[in-house]
């Protein structure tokens, strides 16, 4: 049944070798009072063909971005994932390996993580990167934990224009970490550097997002400077896809840079699994959570790679560890490395240019049709907020009936924006797709 390897004859010869008469005997160490005596109340086993049909039926009940023209974003994006990513990630040597505790068995994944760390540091302008975190939300909590211990302070300032889920996760972690959270409201879709600087007094970290949750391009260098003046660590949450055209946080003084890696090499997959990246200045390396791969040499002097600085980690330091993380998102981060290598530096620049150009085009065409952008004087990247004149959730429902998902209803997270849609435009959308969006929004909300 299932994937069990033993034949009846194996079972009897193995039981004999063990010196017991039955399988039940092996389970006698479980006290009688806590043995489970009935059969599990679940559906009968299926053959592979039946499993496939069942899962195909479930998959068919989802409106995915291959059948519905989608402008959804807000943290997860329908960017193109090249075929070569599938090819590498389906190699069993990567797919079915454990964390590389034995480096002689795992040079492939160790070198790949080293190359990934390099790519993340190149993107962000940071000195050190870990091997990945769970997602773009949990790495924000990690960054706050690093900052608390690096500064000895316990206040964390979050710009309200940071993705709501990211802020929610930081707040969930805060009581255990002993963090006090202060939020700085957005002003017309952006964060005011003076206001952020005032709130940053005595803070361990100041977290802002570039581009922010509204797609707006913050004056990130001014925000980092305002945070830094008070001794708080400036932490930037960035979109990797933007980092061909937007300045690296390392170039404007950030101490830690984090982000959601999904758009760079992972499918949307209803929210996961994806990878979160976390990179920092060199002086923070011993406070970093999670795996870090380092270069070294073997007994013959050949270059090789190992998990390093493991004295930070839970399996060595236990209650004094910098984090409890063990399983991370290595395979997804590998997807990110393959993707970024496929794209190359020129490709990343062109991708950023294509996204911003398509988004500007969409903004203009919607404007022509009478849909004003919410924060009209703010520059944006690949995502922007637009007013639809009525409850955005109703507009989404009506537009979906016409085969278009027009975006995210910002009223779900922000007061006063019930009539606002957050529209994301990736390089997979075409000019004709944008015309279709305008046409459908005009029909349902014009």
């Amino acid at each position: 049944m299932g994937y069990v390897s033993l034949t009846d004859s194996d079972r009897s010869s193995m039981l004999e070798a063990v010196g017991v008469s039955s399988i039940d005997h092996l389970f006698e160490q479980i006290p009688a009072g806590v043995r489970f005596e009935r059969a599990l109340d679940v559906e009968p086993a299926l053959a592979e063909a039946e499993i496939t049909r069942l899962l195909e039926e479930l998959a068919a009940r989802n409106a995915h971005t291959g059948i519905e023209l989608s402008f959804l974003g807000m943290g997860v994006y329908d960017h193109y994932v090249p075929a070569v990513v599938d090819m590498v990630l389906s190699r069993g040597e990567f797919l079915t390996a454990y964390t590389p505790y034995q480096p002689e068995m795992s040079q492939g994944v160790l070198q790949a993580i080293f190359e990934y760390q390099t790519a993340i540091c190149e993107l962000t302008g940071m000195d050190v990167s870990n091997a990945s975190g769970y997602d773009g939300c949990t790495v924000a909590a990690d960054a706050c934990f690093i900052a608390k211990h690096a500064t000895g302070r316990s206040k964390v300032v979050l710009a309200e224009a940071v993705n709501p889920m990211v802020r929610q996760v930081v707040k969930t972690y805060a009581p255990g970490f002993g963090l006090e959270i202060v939020e700085v409201p957005h002003r017309n879709g952006a964060t005011d550097p003076d206001e952020l600087g005032t709130a940053a007094a005595d803070a361990a970290a100041v977290l802002f997002q570039q581009p922010n949750a509204f797609g707006v391009l913050e004056d990130a260098p001014a925000l980092a400077a305002a945070a830094g003046e008070s001794g708080a660590l400036p932490v930037a949450h960035v979109d990797p896809i933007s980092l061909g055209v937007l300045e690296a946080p390392g170039a404007y003084g950030c101490a830690i840079t984090i982000g959601e890696g999904q758009g760079a090499g992972n499918f949307q997959s209803y929210g996961g699994p994806h990878y979160g990246f976390l990179a920092a200045r060199a002086n923070l390396i011993r406070r970093m959570p999670g795996r870090i791969v380092g270069e070294t040499v073997d007994a013959a002097g050949r270059r090789g790679y190992v998990l390093t600085l493991q004295t930070r980690e839970q399996h060595i330091r236990r209650e004094k560890a910098t984090s409890n993380i063990t399983t991370n998102q290595t395979l997804l981060a590998l997807g990110g490395l393959v993707y970024l290598s496929w794209l190359g530096p020129q490709g990343l620049v062109e991708l950023g240019e294509t996204c911003i150009s398509l988004a500007e085009y969409a903004k203009e065409r919607l404007g022509d049709a009478g849909f004003a952008t919410v924060f009209s004087d703010q520059p944006t990247f690949k995502e922007f907020a637009v007013r639809v004149g009525q409850d955005a959730r109703e507009v989404i429902r009506a537009a979906r009936a016409r085969g278009v998902h027009p975006g995210y209803a910002l009223g779900r997270d922000y007061a006063g924006l019930d009539d606002a849609l957050l529209v994301a435009v990736t390089e997979k959308r075409t000019r004709a797709d944008i015309e279709r969006l305008v046409e459908v929004l005009t029909a349902v909300a014009g």
Binding site: C121, G176, L217, I285, T296, T308, G344, I356
Partner: protein, 489 residues
């Protein structure tokens, strides 16, 4: 071998990006990047060859036997990969309206039902991203539960076993609790006398793996539960070793109030070289109101994400969890149905068979039948021949077998922790036995062969001290201290 950055040449590229015929827009000049990131510039062919060469230098379950204790390295059925990559799952946006994600929500709801039945605990959250995040979530739930009862300040301590995974004490610290450790008795159970002195009105709960990291079921578990519940405290079950007991014993019936399940262990999500994982938690009704939001619920055959959970601890990660992992694990469970019990039975038989055939050549610190894994000690080889668990592990590589977990749990010196799983054939088990018996002979006859092992891998033993002393964690783009061919510059 060379890094992909060392294969890079200016102007080469693999992928092209659409350049639509629309007016070109740009970011404000003050925000424009000055110097592009030095990403690799390679052709697609070289890209494929590079990662193929890296794959060749890596060892997975697909390559061979991987009896890494506590990690449950079982076969990863390929149908699970195929169905996880159906466009309806893979290309579904997580903020799609519930009406447009009924298939995904139903799958999650069904998975929750399976996990509730397997654990004997009715309330399930699929959100945690891995086992360690499940642990942290569990401890947050304890805090929320006690705060709700007005005991939040008073109960500030969590008890763990001295055999615990390192994640347990690390999670305790991250959750803001104090740590108390309890000893293991000579049979490998929790030392009840020690335990009684450590459970007080300040105790919030226990974190325990059962069977323990010694591969032994705690024979006093009912008394342990009574002690904690008697003191008003809760019990948390670290599900890392659930593969031993599915359909044979349920954490909820053992007295645990909160449990996490490692979908990447028991339910065959591939480990991916270090992730992704999935760490759902299941809880008693009394703790259900505090579970993370959103929750998948079903009203009249319509599925939805319920965000309106006033007592919830909040969200612990983005969206509703690592959905691709759920697809794989659900497909895996459906291949077994109620016979999941046979999965655990075979895992336990395989482990006991290995133990029976190895116990005369390696020390056995706890002489009992084991569950799905067991811990031997190489201290006899160390005492007699100066051969360590590390030497045994490295030599095993030369037999094409991944080493077991070594030096864990900490209570066993020179520990070799072996977990075969249910998917290995008897012939594979016999190969491991033959290899480990030969290594024990070699320890006496040719110890140097072991101390210099492995001899057949792409690299020999690596200098980990050097790596940690002056960490080199990124490529230096031309100023590297170590050349690609090995000689130091």
């Amino acid at each position: 071998m060379e890094l992909i950055y060392e294969k890079s040449r200016p102007g080469r590229r693999a992928g092209l990006v659409p350049r639509p015929d629309i007016p070109r827009a740009d970011v404000p000049p003050g925000l424009r990047r000055a110097t592009p990131p030095r990403l690799p510039e390679v052709t697609e062919q070289e890209l494929v060859r590079h990662f193929t060469a890296l794959a060749d230098r890596n060892f997975g379950i697909d390559t061979g036997f991987y009896p890494l204790g506590s990690c449950t390295m079982k076969h990863n059925p390929r149908v699970n990969e195929r169905v996880a990559n159906l466009p309806g799952f893979r290309d579904l946006h997580p903020l799609q309206e519930d009406e447009g994600a009924q298939g995904a929500l139903e799958l999650m709801w069904r998975l929750q039902r399976y996990l509730a039945e397997i654990t004997g605990l009715p309330g399930v959250s699929l959100q945690p991203a891995a086992g360690s995040q499940g642990e942290l979530t569990g401890l947050m739930l304890m805090r929320a539960y006690f705060t709700d009862r007005g005991e939040g300040e008073q109960r500030d301590t969590i008890v763990t076993a001295d055999t615990a995974h390192g994640t347990n004490p690390a999670s305790v610290t991250m959750a803001g609790y104090k740590l108390e450790k309890v000893a293991t008795d000579p049979r490998g159970n929790l030392d009840l006398a020690d335990l009684r002195t450590k459970v007080t009105e300040r105790t919030a709960g226990l974190m325990l793996t059962n069977p323990s990291t010694l591969g032994l079921f705690d024979e006093g578990i009912e008394e342990v539960a009574e002690i904690f519940h008697g003191a008003g405290a809760l019990l948390y079950y670290d599900g890392a070793n659930l593969n031993a007991v599915v359909g044979r014993s349920r954490p909820g019936d053992m007295g645990f109030d909160i449990v996490h399940i490692n979908l990447h262990k028991t339910f065959s999500q591939p480990h991916g070289g270090g992730g992704p994982g999935g760490g759902p938690i299941a809880v008693r009704d009394s703790i259900e109101p505090f579970l993370p939001a959103p929750q998948v619920v079903c009203d009249d055959d319509v599925f939805r994400l319920d965000h309106d959970r006033p007592k919830s601890i909040g969200r612990v990660r983005g969206f509703a969890g690592p959905f691709g992992v759920f697809v794989r694990s659900y497909a895996f469970m459906r291949a077994y149905g109620p016979e999941l019990r046979e999965m655990s039975e075979a895992a336990v038989l395989n482990a006991n068979y290995l133990l029976a055939r190895l116990r005369d050549v390696y020390d056995l610190p706890y002489d009992r039948l084991c569950m799905h894994e067991f811990v031997l000690s190489a201290r006899n080889l160390k005492r007699e021949h100066g051969i360590t668990a590390l030497d045994v592990a490295k030599r095993l590589m030369d037999f094409g077998i991944h080493p077991p977990t070594i030096y864990f749990p900490l209570v066993v010196p020179e520990a070799l922790m072996i977990e075969p799983t249910e998917t290995e054939t008897k012939e594979r088990l016999d190969q491991l036995v033959d290899a480990m018996r030969q290594i024990a002979r070699e320890a006496a006859e040719d110890p140097e062969l072991l101390r210099t092992a492995p001899h057949t891998r792409p690299v020999q033993r690596l200098d980990e001290v050097r790596a940690a002393k002056e960490p080199v964690v990124t490529h230096s783009f031309g100023t590297s201290a170590v050349s690609a061919t090995g000689a130091e510059a």
